[in-house]
Assembly symmetry: C2
DNA sequence: TTGTACGCGTTATCAG
DNA sequence: CTGATAACGCGTACAA
């Protein structure tokens, strides 16, 4: 089928192999391989020099594929993310990437595009590339992901979302602590009627944790009312009504706590549409720092997650396990940081 | 070194190979292989059934690594992105991912984290995994990327950023058209003093194109003034001054055109900090649609890029080329969509 | 139609 | 210290 000359630079794109290097250096393939993998088995300086020269001359680099095939290990870490569109996930990804790079691993990313049923497939695909371990920021869809990972016998670390009783490391924000911090701040500022707005909880552990913490927290404060509202994708009207009711009932003593970035967007839209003023008419704190948080109204108070640290930690955790330390599953919780802006200060702006 | 029992589920995680399937089905490896790759060479129904059963029973899946090694091709597409943090890139990525999946390809992503010098390394790494082609959304750092790709002789398609005179397909927003649309809209609305704010242009073709189009466009409108301001990362003060000067000079006839999302954020911050009101005190249009655009002031008018289509097109383009059609380099430009909000309507809100 | 044998690029083992 | 060889999992001429 392909008829004419090769595309661009006239040469054939033939990969240079270890055999080429061996020939060039006048040694055997085994020697070249040793030059890379067993520096301790001192090669004759003369030979080593020849090999090194040949490698440089040919710009040879071992094929990771062939290596993985032979070794059964790849220095690849598989990361699967529920949705690349989510800035939280991307931030974590970056942190993980850095730490992996530092440890000599490469991250192979798989995006679920918010389709939980692809989790099993993603893990299987990654595994077929012989990834050494997994970093998972996904749903726990029917436990299929967990089952697959455990079947493979490869280590995994969970980020933000715990999977049932999966015996794996878990790295996450200290959700309970963050909720307490936020609620305490709101109460201090004089808010007494709190509405926690969350995406549908489903099985997502972080959502469960935050909601549970919210309930507990409200209990512990004597005279504070606390309700929960589930905000769905197309439920703008319902959300507006809930907020209107909240404000109608308690006036400026009402405040919203938003469970994540997408909910924050919805809440901000709803509040603006009713011409309520953040801070003065209604209080607000949202999980996840947003680059536009300073811009709406008097600024939105947020709970910033240490995403970079979370990613780094997840990677480090995995790498340690990969390098043999068979410690029991760990659970690492990092504190969030409250970034106070006008939306949580009664009577401000 | 490793002393005790395997990690979790007691079994060894031994991969199931084509040999296992062959044994299970009582046929040779070749037959199993043919079952996958040459369905046309009709196998005896009996045998085919046995193979199929064995495959299902063992949950066998061919190792893409071994396949790639043997075939020299991988059904993998390498995508390198200057910065995953950029929502534009992520949106394009998603589109490309979908189209690739539909065509039976998998996307392997490499993130440069805004370090241009890693481009060569990224391409080399990807290539060592035998990717069949590239989708590039990167800088053109010293032409090293282009050189590497051409050395490899693998097809590539450029997204948003053209690389010098690289003979590759190019998919992008119609920048000239978008600028004209925006400027015309501003002029229609009565704005006469325009400031185009851009990130440092460097070698980024889309920035060059937009700036050039802006100049041309201003020329063609008789009585319109048009300046350009380069906004750098730590240059908040300079930007504020430029905007103050603009407004001081022309009052409500002044308007800003922002070259991309990060600049829009900076401009919005600067404008708010000077207590100028979008739309009434100063006009604004920004490249790239933002989910928070409706929330600041009377809403920010934006130019939405067809990111999903761009990604899909890029992928489709590449796949076509992979499947043999040796057409000359194409250049595909898609129109943007002006999303009009309050910030570009004089006297509104 | 099916099986045998070899090679893809590497590395580990075992002689030398 | 170095070289030949087998094997990793797979696809394909070639032979049967």
């Amino acid at each position: 089928m392909r008829s004419d000359t090769p595309p661009a630079a006239g040469a054939a794109p033939a990969r240079v192999t270890i055999a080429d290097v061996a020939r060039e250096a006048g040694v055997s393939k085994a020697t070249v391989s040793r030059f890379f993998n067993h520096r301790e088995a001192l090669l004759t300086p003369d030979i080593a020099a020849r090999v090194e020269a040949a490698i440089a001359a040919l710009d040879y680099r071992p094929s990771p594929m062939a290596q993985a095939l032979k070794r059964g290990t790849s220095r690849l870490i598989g990361m699967v993310v529920a949705d690349v569109t989510n800035p939280y996930s991307v931030a974590v990804l970056r942190g993980a990437e850095k730490a992996c790079k530092d440890a000599g691993y490469l991250v192979m990313l798989f995006n679920l595009g918010n389709e939980p049923e692809r989790e099993r497939e993603a893990i299987a695909t990654l595994s077929s590339y012989q990834v050494d371990g997994f970093i998972l920021n996904t749903f726990d869809h029917g436990g299929k992901g967990r089952a697959e990972v455990e079947r493979l016998g490869k280590p995994a670390v969970l980020v933000d979302r715990r999977h049932g009783r999966m015996s794996a490391d878990f790295v996450s924000l200290d959700n309970a602590g963050a909720v307490e911090m936020a609620v305490a701040h709101l109460v201090d500022a004089g808010y007494r009627d709190l509405l926690y707005v969350t995406e549908p909880v489903r099985n997502v552990s972080s959502r469960l944790d935050r909601q549970a913490a919210f309930h507990a927290c409200v209990q512990s404060h004597g005279d504070v009312r606390g309700d929960v509202f589930e905000s769905v994708e197309d439920g703008a009207d319902a959300l507006e009504q809930a907020i209107a009711a909240l404000h109608g009932r308690s006036g400026s003593r009402a405040a919203i706590l938003s469970g994540n970035a997408v909910v924050t967007l919805r809440c901000a839209t709803a509040v603006m549409r009713q011409a309520l003023r953040f801070g003065v008419d209604i209080g607000f704190i949202g999980f996840d720092e947003l680059d536009w948080a300073p811009l709406v109204g008097p600024g939105l108070t947020t709970i910033a997650q240490p995403t970079d640290a979370l990613g780094r930690l997840a990677a480090r955790c995995l790498v340690e396990r990969l390098q043999g330390s068979p410690s029991p599953p760990r659970q690492i919780l990092l504190s969030g940081e409250l970034i106070v802006r006008g939306s949580s200060q009664r009577g401000a702006a």
